[in-house]
């Protein structure tokens, strides 16, 4: 497997080697070594929990730079719906879209209507699917990666429909190339993202050979300039093509609220995602048709790279949808014809990402498992993470894999020091 760059990057100058990120990581991908958080590329799912909990601003998203815009003849900003939710009542999507162009993009492209289309396509897919149930949304890329790493059994449950952001970029790129006589590669499409997971999904897409997007800017890094641009310019783009139903996709619960099928649930936040997926894996929840799940508690409005925070953003989205009359724009015949053309289909299968067993050989793995259990008996079980691993169990695991030493545990080291201090037992440690 090719190790592609991840969207979370640690800054050695700022990292103090505390263990907050290591303990927050859902796949236990982070170890603190010599006062620096080190992320395991194989295990990282780019969920951004580490960014969320870091108190030192030492973990940053790897975003595009303004220089990247100059590589293209024509640039398009494709904002996450969450961007619309970052402002107060007088800043509508039309003004946000117009403001974005003043930041250096040649055009902007709204994806709310594509969200509505995908909801409709999902309904159609569910009515034809033969299981396994429940089907699971692929909207949150961190959830998708989590399934690949931790719940490979649930891969057949994933809905094989491409995400609205990719479909919108695909469609716009195709049309622009035709309208302007450009080669598709001369068009640069940039997502304005609420999270790191989407950045990584552009860099290393699943279900697609290559992303239709060329890069991403974080909402956090665009916000200041954008706000200034909006304040200076009272004008607004037309909002005729903005779908109120689609807008709700910014919030957890939005996806199912725009669907016809009601035998659905929304799962919010990492803890609940693990809880529900554990149970689906053991065969419960089979009576449900569809689950939308988000690593961030509020859905995309709760992403680490946002400004307003999920509570205000949720309120803003609801207000916007209401102001637009909760209207839907999508005609079913249109969706049916696109379904017929396989427009929504993913291009490639999603595969499991194999998590390392203790050893390839069963007997060897059993020996290491016994060794690990014995080590765990000796460890204090305080899960203090001072050793650099998030908890005692992970340290034991690292030790038997040869990636850490038992003496990395401060309690074990203390024991050994005390043993040395007792003269008649000097030099002997258990």
């Amino acid at each position: 497997m090719i190790n592609r760059p991840h969207a979370v990057v640690t800054d050695p100058a700022k990292c103090v080697g505390c263990v907050a990120c290591s303990q927050a990581c859902p796949t236990r991908a982070i170890r603190v070594r010599s006062d620096l958080a080190v992320i395991d590329d194989e295990l990282c799912i780019d969920c951004g929990m580490c960014i969320e909990v870091c108190g030192y601003d030492a973990i940053r998203p790897r975003t595009s730079s303004p220089a990247d815009l100059r590589k293209f003849k024509h640039t398009v900003a494709v904002p996450s719906l969450t961007l619309y939710a970052q402002f107060g009542d007088d800043v509508h999507p039309g003004r946000v879209l117009r403001g974005l162009r003043q930041l250096g993009f040649d055009e902007t492209y709204d994806i709310s209507w594509m969200c509505e289309m995908v909801a409709s396509a999902t309904d159609a897919y569910l009515s034809q699917s033969k299981g396994p149930w429940p089907k699971i949304s692929v909207t949150c890329p961190a959830v998708l990666r989590l399934i690949q790493i931790r719940y490979p059994d649930l891969i057949p449950n994933l809905v094989p429909i491409e995400t609205p952001r990719e479909l919108a970029a695909k469609l716009r790129r195709r049309r622009l190339a035709a309208e302007r006589g450009l080669d598709p590669s001369e068009i640069g499409m940039f997502f304005i993202t609420p999270c790191t997971a989407i950045i990584h999904s552009i860099e290393a897409p699943e279900g697609l050979e290559a992303s239709y997007l060329d890069g991403a800017f974080a909402i956090t890094e665009t916000y200041g300039q954008l706000l200034k641009a909006i304040k200076h310019d009272p004008g607004s783009d037309s909002e005729e093509a903005i779908s109120a139903r689609g807008l709700r996709w910014a919030m957890a619960g939005g996806e199912i609220s725009s669907m016809r099928n009601a035998n659905t649930i929304t799962v919010r936040g990492l803890r609940d995602v693990l809880y529900v997926f554990d149970r689906i894996e053991s065969g419960t929840f089979q009576g449900l048709d569809f689950i939308e799940a988000y690593i961030c508690p509020g859905g995309c409005v709760g992403g680490q790279l946002t400004v307003a925070g999920r509570y205000l953003a949720q309120r803003n989205i609801r207000q916007l949808a209401k102001r637009l009359g909760d209207r839907g724009l999508v005609k079913e015949e249109k969706v049916r014809s696109l379904l017929h053309d396989h427009f929504f289909d993913m291009q490639s299968e999603i595969s499991a990402r194999r998590v390392r067993p203790l050893a390839r050989d069963l007997r060897q793995a059993i020996a290491l498992k016994r060794e690990k259990d014995a080590l765990l008996e000796r460890l204090p079980r305080k899960d203090c993470a001072a050793c650099g691993a998030p908890n005692c169990e992970t340290l034991a695991d690292d030790v038997v894999r040869g990636e850490a030493k038992l003496e990395d545990c401060v309690f074990i080291r203390l024991e050994q020091l005390q043993a040395h201090e007792t003269p008649h037992r000097g030099g002997e440690d258990g």
Binding site: D153, L362, K369
Partner: protein, 165 residues
């Protein structure tokens, strides 16, 4: 892919162990009516099997069976031991409970038959799929029960890619 693993010597010894020799054994206790911890034994076994590197398909089928068996104990029995036995090319689980026993095993093995109370059904159990589901998920299955004493379930999942049905 495995570059981060210790490069353990892998001698190509002939299989010394007999096919049924148990290489790893671990027992888990299940307490009747303990809905709060329902599913934990099945989850713990799954974690062990993942570490040992068993094929995902075998783990998946065994986990379904384990969860059903565990919930059966919680709903009907006083307590049980769920014993995991990992062999060279298969995994066996034996669930021995102290409970009311099953008077008519043939009846209980039929889909849809259940003695679940309305409370259990309200929790989503009692569809009469538990025992048939265990049998379907496993490659080998046996059940023995004595009314007033308890029930013993034994099921085996092959790890070498062979599948049931």
């Amino acid at each position: 892919m495995d570059q981060t693993q210790p490069t353990a010597p892998r001698p190509t010894l002939p299989d010394r162990e007999a096919p049924g020799e148990v290489l790893y054994r671990e027992a888990f206790r299940i307490v009747g009516n303990d809905f709060e911890h329902g599913g934990e034994a099945a989850a713990a076994i799954k974690a062990v099997l993942k570490q040992l590197g068993l094929p995902p398909e075998a783990i998946r089928r065994l986990s379904i069976a384990n969860f059903e068996a565990e919930m059966n104990v919680i709903m009907y029995a006083a307590e049980a031991q769920m014993e995991l036995a990992v062999m060279h090319d298969s995994v066996r689980v034996t669930v021995t409970d102290r409970g009311p026993g099953i008077p008519d095993i043939e009846w209980a093995m039929q889909e849809g038959n259940s003695t679940a109370t309305p409370e259990m059904r309200a929790r989503g159990f009692g569809a009469g799929l538990g025992l048939p589901n265990i049998r379907r998920s496993a490659d080998e299955f046996s059940i023995a029960s004595t009314v007033g004493v308890g029930t013993t379930l034994t099921y085996v999942v092959y790890a070498n890619g062979a599948t049931a049905t």
